[in-house]
């Protein structure tokens, strides 16, 4: 599928009213469109509106969010944003209307070829999956997103591979066979009875539960990762702030040193106590008493006896018993049975060793007994815990004192740290509950994925038996297992290919300061270094994203705000020359300061390039109006859009000039 953005128009929103036509006089969208917008012209709002309009998410916005898009001082009650797409050449238009009075959002969708106008967000199902907010974020973003691909806290790189390489299709095959099995079980309608209906209800409910829990797991895992990083950052900031200053801070630093010491002492004390516990006789005197009683009684009973089972076994070979009587078959039989009651030599050896150890360990000694050792170790542990608690209280009290002395920012950080620590603990606990393999069966809403899977299998198995679809069920499970394994293998293979492809491109793009991708594990991990410079990271992010876009069989537009801003001239040139090769439509919101290097390189790589310059109409920009060209200008009360390379290259406004 190929999706192009044909244009958009906006009215009554924070960004100026404007119509942007990306097709222009030609019949197809050009490969590259550069839209120069000075800072303050609404680049961020436009990106947000593009995503909100295409994804249909605005209906879930609260009143505050809806009203946040109203332009200050504008009396109009409605704000609208309309995006026109070409889906495999066919038009699709989605309109988002924000009702500022009511505080609600609504949509209108126009599919000229099929369905006409619908008063809601209703793109065709085949397109819908590509309009999910997360997916749109892969091709409509600001320059920072590329850097997110290399942020260890994010999963953006993995998500991009799954989405762009359509690995979801393998899941869909699994879903299809599952539905087919379900359909076949329903065809056994004549056999359906209450039990079958109940099982189906239970299966559906458990399957829905699995989806909910799996989503919760993904969310909790991401939160643990992100919050964990935030906690580290906050703790470091607090630490740094607390470590600089006088008086209370000096006391605080000393208290922290003391706390470190007590933590070490506590660790040693706990180690000593555990070592003492490893001797069972130390734990309770009754253990020694019972073992001594056992040994004494074994001595009294003369156990193990000197006579062992082997003696009787050897006796069976003789013609006569030791008492001189003839060894009859009856006598042999009886001696054979009774010999089993006696201990053989090796068993006797173990018992003697046990007796020996009991004797050795319980013997009175001049050195301290195991019990005394444990008692001392426990006393040491108690003292170490008290010291550590005191040291922690001192640190906390001094920390509070510093906060009370007026460091509001520190206070806010500490509050945030406490809040995030609690949230982190909650998420960690939730993950443990989801991953546990020992949840007791019985709850109607189990939390453990393993238990849920087990129950789904059980219900499926019972339904299969009743509906005589056992073979089909097995085949379904085999196909699903193959799809799951294929997804895993495909992901790993695609990752390997992408890494090779990206590294080959990075070698060219970052010729002077090379950087290599080592692996993709949720995010892109660089070889041999934690992270690169901002410009390196951005370049690596672009190269990855464009390689992934190219790797999938779909073509999507890339809409980027400030694509080249943090890069130096050399990298701009190299990235600029790569872009037309790597995506079917590239739309960039730029400012004049990032044009040099980037634009000439783009222009050298493709003839299909369209230059648009846009600015607000204000008294501050009134000076620009007399200099507008005679053709290619469209304007209204709020904005001016000029088409043409000459005006674009000579436009010299970086920030919006207000009244």
């Amino acid at each position: 599928m190929r999706i192009d953005i044909a244009g958009w128009s906006t009215s009554g929103l924070r960004c100026p009213d404007v119509t942007i036509d990306l097709i222009g006089p030609g019949s197809t969208v050009p490969k590259v469109t550069l839209l120069q917008m000075p800072n303050g012209t609404g680049k961020t709002t436009t990106l947000e509106m593009l995503i909100a309009t295409l994804s249909g998410v605005a209906t879930s916005w609260d009143e505050k969010t809806v009203r946040s898009y109203r332009r200050k001082g504008d009396e109009r009650e409605l704000g609208t944003f309309v995006v026109s797409l070409l889906v495999d050449g066919r038009q699709l238009s989605i309109e988002l209307v924000l009702d500022f009075e009511m505080g609600v959002a609504r949509y209108r969708t126009t599919n000229p070829g099929s369905g006409g106008v619908v008063q809601s967000w209703q793109p065709l199902p085949a397109v819908r999956r590509f309009l999910a907010k997360e997916f749109l974020g892969l091709f409509i973003f600001n320059g920072e997103f590329a850097a997110r691909l290399l942020d260890e806290r994010q999963t953006a790189a993995d998500d991009a591979i799954d989405a762009l390489c359509q690995l979801y299709l393998l899941n869909e095959i699994g879903d299809f066979v599952e539905q087919e099995w379900s359909r076949r079980t329903k065809q056994a309608g004549a056999k359906s009875d209450n039990a079958l209906t109940r099982l189906r209800t239970e299966l559906n409910s458990m399957t829905a539960r699995r989806t909910t829990i799996a989503k919760a797991r993904v969310k909790a895992e991401a939160q643990v990762r992100e919050i964990g990083a935030e906690i580290t950052d906050l703790a470091a900031k607090i630490e740094e702030r607390l470590g600089t200053g006088r008086s209370t801070r000096e006391q605080f630093n000393e208290a922290k040193i003391e706390m470190t010491r007590t933590v070490g002492a506590l660790s040693i004390a706990a180690g000593n106590a555990m070592q003492a516990l490893r001797q069972p006789l130390s734990i309770h005197p009754s253990f020694a008493t019972s073992l001594i009683a056992l040994k004494d009684n074994l001595d009294n009973l003369r156990l193990p006896e000197n006579t062992s089972a082997q003696f009787f076994n050897e006796l069976l070979e003789e013609d006569e018993c030791i008492c001189g009587r003839e060894m009859t078959p009856g006598a042999k039989h009886e001696i054979g049975i009774r010999s089993l009651r006696y201990l053989d030599a090796s068993e006797s050896g173990v018992i003697n060793a046990i007796k020996q150890d009991i004797g050795d360990f319980t013997a009175a000694s001049e050195t301290e007994s195991p019990e005394e050792r444990l008692s001392q170790a426990m006393a040491g542990l108690g003292a170490a815990r008290r010291d550590q608690k005191l040291a922690r209280q001192t640190v906390n009290a001094l920390k509070q004192k510093l906060i009370d002395e007026g460091d509001e920012e520190l206070f806010a950080w500490q509050q945030q740290l406490d809040k995030q620590t609690k949230l982190h603990d909650d998420c960690t606990r939730l993950l443990q509950e989801i991953d546990t393999d020992d949840e007791k069966d019985g709850s109607a809403e189990p939390c453990s994925l393993k238990l849920i899977d087990k129950k789904i299998k059980e219900f499926g198995g019972k339904i299969s038996e009743i509906t005589e679809t056992v073979t089909l069920r097995k085949q379904t499970d085999v196909i699903k297992a193959i799809m799951a394994r294929t997804t895993e293998l495909a992901r790993s293979k695609i990752k390997a290919e992408l890494i090779d492809l990206c590294n080959a491109r990075l070698e060219k793009v970052l010729a002077n300061d090379p950087l290599t991708i080592g692996r993709i594990d949720r995010s892109i991990r660089l070889e041999g270094q934690g992270t690169g410079s901002t410009a390196q990271v951005l370049a690596a992010g672009y190269v990855f994203l464009m390689s992934a876009l190219r790797r999938g069989n779909n073509d999507f537009p890339l809409v980027v705000d400030s694509p080249a801003n943090p890069m130096d001239m050399g990298r701009r040139r190299r990235i600029g020359s790569l872009i037309p090769e790597l995506c079917s439509q590239f739309v960039a919101f730029t400012i004049n300061t990032e044009l040099s290097g980037f634009v000439p390189a783009l222009a050298d790589s493709t003839d299909e390039i369209r230059y648009l310059t846009m600015f607000r109409r204000t008294t501050g920009t009134a000076r620009l109006l007399p200099g507008l060209p005679t053709t290619g200008v469209s304007q209204n009360d709020y904005s001016v859009v000029v088409e043409g390379k000459d005006y674009f290259m000579s436009f010299d406004v970086t920030d919006e000039e207000d009244d």
Binding site: L266, S267, A269, A270, G271, A273, M274, Q275, L277, R278, Q279, P280, L281, I283, H284, S286, F287, S290, L291, A293, L294, K295, N297, L298, N300, L301, L303, P304, R341, Y342, L343, S346, E347, G349, V350, I351, A353, I354, Q356, D357, I358, F361, L374, M378, L381, G382, A384, R385, Q432, T436, D437, D438
Partner: protein, 160 residues
Amino acid sequence: MAYFRLRTDAQSWFSEIADSPPFRTKFDIYYLCLIAGLASGRATELTGTAHPATDLVEKFVEDYRPASRLIIGLLVTAELRKSGIDVSEKAQVRALFKRLVDSESPNSLTDQGMRRLNAYASGGYEYLAEQRDMKPYTAEEFIQGYSALIENAVEKLPPA
């Protein structure tokens, strides 16, 4: 071959403290449960699917090798008490040893002996979990309270 086995719910219960010092191996957790089981006389067999468990090791780990025969001795005394066998009943004491002890085994226990030892570790975990309001979150706090829990267990043990 019989292994020392620890219930998975016990492993979850100890999950906050088991993997860091002063604990050196999972056997430490097994041992603390076992002693609690032997002290309280509580044994819960790991049969069927009621209490899933995982194999730990086949032999006593290094830390516990010196005390291994004392542990077996404590198993014997616990089993004598549980079976109501007086220690003076020679034939029955001998038979109990034959059931529990095997010199050829790497851990000196028969399969049945190991099964019973694991049962005491399992019962000991139940005892500890019942006695505490919540799972342990710091090793230091748990260790300090452990002796008192064992003391209580021995006190509540009915006379033989």
